[in-house]
Symmetry: C2
Subunit: 477 residues, 2 copies
């Protein structure tokens, strides 16, 4: 068996478990493909951008691709358990994080507030409005008097409003302007006026509602998990050690052809510069469709058309090392995220581990689509400058403690050419049945073959779908 | 200097840093007082309950007293940094946790639902009601037409309601009945009817609004930190190693008297059974007021009256080891809490570390006041049985995987006699000025001297208040 693309680690893992003779061809010098933990010494080379080398200090890391995992991604948990990879928490919601909006009406334009202030005030005002409407029975519903009373009670608790007059006038849950100590019980600041808060809340909600709505998106819940010391621990350590001698790094596949007796694969040995050819009974191919479509193959027209019908999304992520964890020492933010209304900036992400350490890396920029198109057209240095410009609006201390940045525009990475398939339901229905079937002796795997696409889980699931199918065929033949 | 009570670790630490000759008398065989990490081999003996020994397996731990720390407790972070104690996340809000209510009207009586279902449905229904009221301009406020429109937009995002008809009909954010995979995009269950949900939500909100309202209490925010491997790492390891030979364990103070030249302290050497006496220039006393009031002292009537005026709260916490982390493998809950309407049960807390390990300990019961009075009257075994009874209503697998329990009723612990001072603002104002002043050559420290009482931070703050005062007096004399 040939497995192409070590990102298809689950496929290779399962084939090895079944006793097959497996060779894994990987174009890059590490295992994981899109799964990349950045630390000092890591290099990338985007199309047209030259080589970028990470100069971060020992112990500082950041995941440039997939990182956080929701609880229902069971295959991920399975492999971490199988390979003994420790997990830590990833936090999407830290009420102490910042929200920042600009280009909005009102006095909160260009200001930051704590997420808990935003949530407390909006929860308070909306609860007050609804409770008063319920009390005066002007709400459009068929709730009984008992239900209305229960609703009001609930809103008093939920919104932290006065049970007497149902007004919202602020709460200590917004946080302390002056924390309590031995001399006082602390001071609480007044809430923001609703008319100023509304444009702010709408701007923040725009791109961040998956984190900040009444319930977070199932894939972005308030807490998730990730691999201790980076997702590379699962791939470039766990799977890589398991593969051992079966793994051939720096082997860039250029040609895949079905033959009468199996598959013939041509690859470039990037160390020697030589083209080489190997054959096998079957090939399991984990190359992203965006890259696979450019290879020489003798795949059928229908299969090729299906591959060609899947557009890939743009996305750029940037990590940034700082020489001091000012977000911990000065802003008291331990992990989690800050949210902005700036499309090119997106969110800031704080390290969820090594609290109290001196140095650390932030997720300093995370954007999509046209925002990524614009930012990725810049040089590595210009991108960092832009991120510092944006980030300083939330953390004015950024430039003072700046060390260096490392950005990855996934659509410009030669072995990715896109962040993930940008499926519509129509395209998915049209191409998936074709792509999930073997093309001769070639089986595709990868997140692009699952409804959980763009996630590692999707890639694992695709292996769990394809490998049993392949195994059954071999056993039956 | 004599420091009484090694829970007063910050006071002793600061005195040592200032160069004083310090002797620390600690009644128990470990450092921390109320701060106790339970693991195999730990014993306690409550008044009238006999000895309890923990029989948990290697690596399983649980904090019986203080554990989680909010971000504004800066002294805690300071000492962890000073002593090199690693921190991990503590999570109060895991949307995948359960909510369970009983004794309520409607079809949800005695059922559990995921926290995200509760939050999504209540957020959805209330947003729908308010958005419709806003649209028909029946809400009692002076919002402009523009503001009303912005409010509706916000509610559409927040509550995940239809922007067409403003109805809430459920959302994938409630979670999947069937998770997405390679064959389908998953299935979402219908929302609960509002009339059934209201009694459930009100019952859950009752005692849990500090966790589940629009914004969590500042001391119970969605994410906090705690010491890796238990809070004992800071006290019984960090501070204890720092104290070295200055620390005298098993030395139970029975008498504190001001003398003409300083302080005389009598203590029982619990190893030899002998009474011993030592003298010093000053004494810093960290004994809880509930215990201190029973000692022989020659304190003034005013000071004694002030001590006597502070009632202490009851609280019982129970940890429970299970031989399998069924909450992870079967319920997909990684850390965080589940919430109940049962006062005697309170919350369930899941280990926030060692995910994928075989065994672990839950916080299986956490109650206060009269609930604690009732439960603590039971034997250790009866308490465990009760917790299993309650807990099984949320996790039916509990008994199957049960190993053993360890409970601590802090009001029955001889060196605590209460969980924390149950201050009213009036009592605090009345006694604090007296108790914060030295009584002759005796300075009190402890959480009872701070507005942040019941928290470790309060104890640290009290040291930061008293030690400089004491030092200034010595320097000036």
């Amino acid at each position: 068996m040939i497995v192409i693309g070590a990102g298809g680690s689950a496929a290779a893992y399962e084939l090895i478990q079944l006793g097959y003779d497996v060779t894994i061809l990987e174009a890059q010098d590490h295992v994981g493909g899109h799964v990349l933990t950045v630390r000092g010494g890591v290099t990338t080379e985007e199309h047209g951008k030259g080589v970028q080398e990470c100069t971060w200090d020992e112990g500082v890391w950041w995941d440039a691709g997939p990182s956080r995992v929701p609880f229902f991604h069971r295959a991920f948990f399975h492999y971490c358990q199988q390979l003994g990879i420790p997990l830590i928490d990833h936090k999407n919601l830290n009420l102490n994080g910042w929200a920042y909006a600009e280009g909005i009406e009102g006095s909160l334009d260009g200001t930051r507030m704590r997420v808990r202030e935003l949530q407390a005030d909006m929860g308070g005002y909306t609860s007050s409005l609804l409770a008063k409407a319920a009390e005066s029975s002007t709400i459009d519903d068929e709730l009984s008097a008992d239900d209305l009373e229960m609703l009001i009670d609930y809103l008093v608790s939920w919104g932290m409003i006065s049970s007497d007059d149902l007004n919202y006038t602020g709460t200590s849950r917004r946080g302390y302007a002056v924390p309590p100590d031995t001399q006082s019980s602390g001071e609480v600041a007044d809430p923001f006026p609703l008319e100023d808060l509304l444009p702010f809340a709408s701007a923040i909600m725009g791109s961040n509602s998956g984190y900040l709505a009444a319930t977070a998106s199932p894939t972005w819940q308030t807490t998730m998990v990730k691999c201790a010391d980076g997702i590379g621990q699962l791939f470039d350590s766990g799977f890589r050690e398991f593969f051992g001698e079966r793994l051939m790094l720096n082997s860039e596949v250029t040609e895949i052809n079905n033959t009468d007796v199996g598959v013939s694969v041509v690859y470039l040995n990037r160390e020697t510069g030589e083209e080489e050819q190997i054959s096998a009974d079957y090939c399991v191919c984990n190359i992203p469709l965006s890259v696979l479509i450019k290879l020489n193959t003798n795949f059928s027209r229908e299969f090729t058309e299906a591959m060609r019908s899947v557009p890939y999304a743009m996305s750029l992520r940037m990590g940034m090392q700082f020489n001091q964890r000012f977000w911990e020492t000065e802003d008291w933010i331990y992990g989690g995220q800050s949210f902005s209304s700036i499309g090119e900036l997106g969110i800031l992400g704080y390290p969820d581990d090594n609290y109290n350490a001196e140095k650390g890396a932030l997720l300093a920029m995370y954007n999509f689509g046209n925002n990524s198109a614009r930012v990725s057209s810049l040089s590595y240095e210009e991108r960092a400058e832009l991120a510092l410009d944006y980030g300083s609006r939330i953390h004015p201390q950024m430039r003072e403690h700046y060390h260096s940045a490392f950005s990855v525009a996934w659509h410009l990475m030669p072995y990715s050419l896109g962040a993930w398939p940008s499926y519509t339901e129509e395209v998915r229905e049209q191409v998936m049945p074709t792509l999930q079937e073997p093309e001769g002796n070639v089986y595709l795997v990868g997140e692009h073959l699952s409804h959980v696409n763009s996630w590692m889980e999707g890639a694992f699931q695709s292996a769990w779908m394809q490998i049993p199918k392949l195994h059954q065929r071999v056993m039956g033949s």
